[in-house]
Assembly symmetry: C2
């Protein structure tokens, strides 16, 4: 398989994609952009996955309809308001697409629409209508950063990844932007993620690639156990790299999937590490599972434990909480075979073997756990399956951010 190289450029890394972002006034803070647009020069194959929450934001319903034919050409997204649980939500979401159609020269039925922010507050169309001319005018082939900023809510960093790879002898590019950073939990199409690529791939195979990928990428991230109402991952593939269109599960499809995973897995780490209030990125790496399901369930349970998350914030090697989380995970594991180690750039320290504690240096453990990126290594010693899940620590700032989010 050919090399996959990380590059700059975000959603504008691939050929034929322009992006922009403006402050249109949904947010009161005038220094924060709140409306993003991504437009492909050509109509593109489109695929998406959505939240599994029964409460679904109006934009998701509109997007589903718009990409039912497998194609789209633009993405519009506002932050500051989720447009969810509002009586006129669908009308507003459709209105956003119509505005894109008017100002950016694409068909409104080819627009993917997304919203993120507070649930249950009416979203007015006026600021969006007022901002759209500038948003369309500022579209450019190197403006991914403006779009990435515009979709941020409580995020503290922009999340942007791009890669270069080769398909059919042609250089292809793929890039994505994402927003977190709370209300994030496995078993959904997590958070908002937009990926663009100039690779040629038919809608059916694009959807297949995405649906498979989220199982080991976004569905393995948890910030706080809350599954949002608005989450969506959407991919546009405009074919402008001129490779032969991927239309079957062949070798090219495998390369495409690997490139997609290079983008999504890195976005996962960015999302988890920038979870609300987070000071640390936690990665739980499970090996030796009897089944893939067991390994994944175990990894997710560890990452989701409030107690372990708080211990990691305190750099406390409280491995009993790892065992506890494995024990209630529901995964098919033998707790008497479990090994646990903590690792970071400062080294690795085994703390539990065969389900029981072993002696270890608390001093060394502290040194390891004071790092910003911590691996929790779990050996199930029960089979051949592995899994990886991403999360973050639970901190004072998580409480602060969410104790008064609306005001």
């Amino acid at each position: 398989m050919s090399e996959i190289k990380y590059i700059d450029g975000g959603v504008c890394a691939a050929k034929g994609f322009r992006a922009s972002g403006v402050h249109c006034g949904i947010r009161k803070n005038r220094t924060k952009r709140d409306l993003a647009l991504i437009v492909s020069d050509k109509r593109a194959s489109a695929a998406a996955v959505y939240t599994q929450n029964l409460v679904k934001g109006a934009p998701l319903l509109v997007t589903k309809k718009h990409i039912a034919d497998g194609y789209a050409q633009a993405v519009v997204c506002n932050s500051g308001n989720a447009n969810t649980c509002n009586a006129n939500g669908v009308e507003i979401a459709e209105g956003m697409c119509t505005l894109v159609g008017t100002y950016a020269g694409v068909k409104s039925e080819d627009v993917i629409v997304a919203s993120t922010g507070v649930i249950g507050q009416p979203l007015e169309i006026e600021p969006i209508a007022n901002g759209m001319p500038a948003l369309a005018a500022e579209l450019s082939y190197d403006n991914s950063a403006s779009a990435a900023e515009s979709i941020m809510t409580t995020d503290t960093i922009q999340k942007s990844v791009a890669v270069e790879f080769v398909l059919d002898g042609k250089t292809c590019r793929m890039g994505g932007i994402a927003k977190g950073s709370g209300m994030i939990h496995p078993n959904m199409a997590t958070m908002l993620v937009f990926v663009t690529t100039d690779a040629a791939i038919c809608p059916k195979m694009l959807q297949k690639a995405l649906s498979e990928d989220v199982k080991t990428s976004f569905n393995m991230v948890s910030i706080d156990g809350d599954t949002s109402t608005n989450d969506m991952v959407a991919v546009l593939a405009n074919g402008m790299a001129d490779n032969k269109e991927i239309a079957a599960a062949d070798a090219d499809f495998e390369v495409f999937c690997a490139a997609l995973h290079a983008v999504t897995a890195k976005l996962c780490r960015l999302l988890a590490g920038d979870g609300e209030g987070a000071t640390k990125l936690l990665t739980c790496k499970v090996t030796g599972g009897k089944t893939e399901e067991a390994a994944k369930t175990a990894a997710k349970s560890v990452i989701c434990s409030s107690l372990l998350k708080a211990a990691m914030f305190g750099a406390d090697a409280n491995w009993g909480r790892v065992l506890c989380a494995l024990g209630y995970s529901g995964a098919d594991i033998d707790v008497n075979k479990v090994d646990v180690s903590f690792a970071s750039a400062k080294g690795e320290i085994p703390v539990c073997r065969n389900g029981a504690g072993i002696e270890f240096s608390e001093e060394k453990a502290k040194e390891i756990l004071l790092e910003k990126e911590i691996d929790i290594l779990v050996g199930l010693n029960d089979g051949e399956f592995s899994a990886e899940a991403w999360g973050c620590d639970l901190t004072y700032d998580y409480v602060k951010i969410n104790g008064d989010y609306r005001t």
Copy 2:
């Protein structure tokens, strides 16, 4: 049905139960008792429910064996160490029972043993052996408070409840003590709870009463989503009230179950309100569920949402998070029919009708949510079933307590 009256006395309220608590040295803090003993004058019917965590503390295994015949006469419990994930855990737990046998004059096979505290640190028998003579010597018929204090970990208040009721013309009493206050989550026999009664009831009916009761009491409490390895609810019924032994699901059994629920439901509120770091008791009352399962699942999901818990800490009427939690609960509900109100001693305020926001006074909502006991009222408008779940807010102190629990 006859009246159930709340009285004082905790686990010593019922006839023939002595209790005591001492500091034996498991905890370094000499001002905090860490070893509790409850002894019945007569061998008693015994029942228990245990954590559903696959990792089970050694004391649970020993207790299961000891009450397999349906009878027990004493409870011994230490705090400061969970005696879980230790190679010699069962040996230590058996050793604790032997010591009770030696000093308190009961058969060691009639002792229920429990431990609570850090997981995975070896528990030494020495301090327990040293403390047992004093523990047995201090047993008295009005010493429930010493036992209640001895089982506390991060609890800030003692949790004790007792009731008086009439069976077969005889006055009966029942009392319980409990410890929280973290690692508490539905779907288990939650936390440590010991209940004593002088009512006469056969072991089989006692177990039936307890197993049914926890479904609407302890299994409806969540502090932090973590299911502990050591949780146990145990009941001793010594028959000293001289009522005719309950041996079938008759009218007396119903009275007994009502008395039991009066004790357990109140302990639930005490546990939830004293959750780690909690400043507020949250009660989610769901009505109009299509099934009992739907109502219970919905209530638990709301109570477990980190985002809602943080909003309640901030007295923020962020009802969108209630809808969100209902939506991902997995319960069979129609989100478009959902009504939500917040209520407290300061009044009640509707905030959502038919799944959409309605106008409300933020000022009034704030006044209501600044109280210490908040009800989250959810109308599913989809059937006849109700459920109630208890929890607490998520605060800075939860993070503080759990960021550095071991040191």
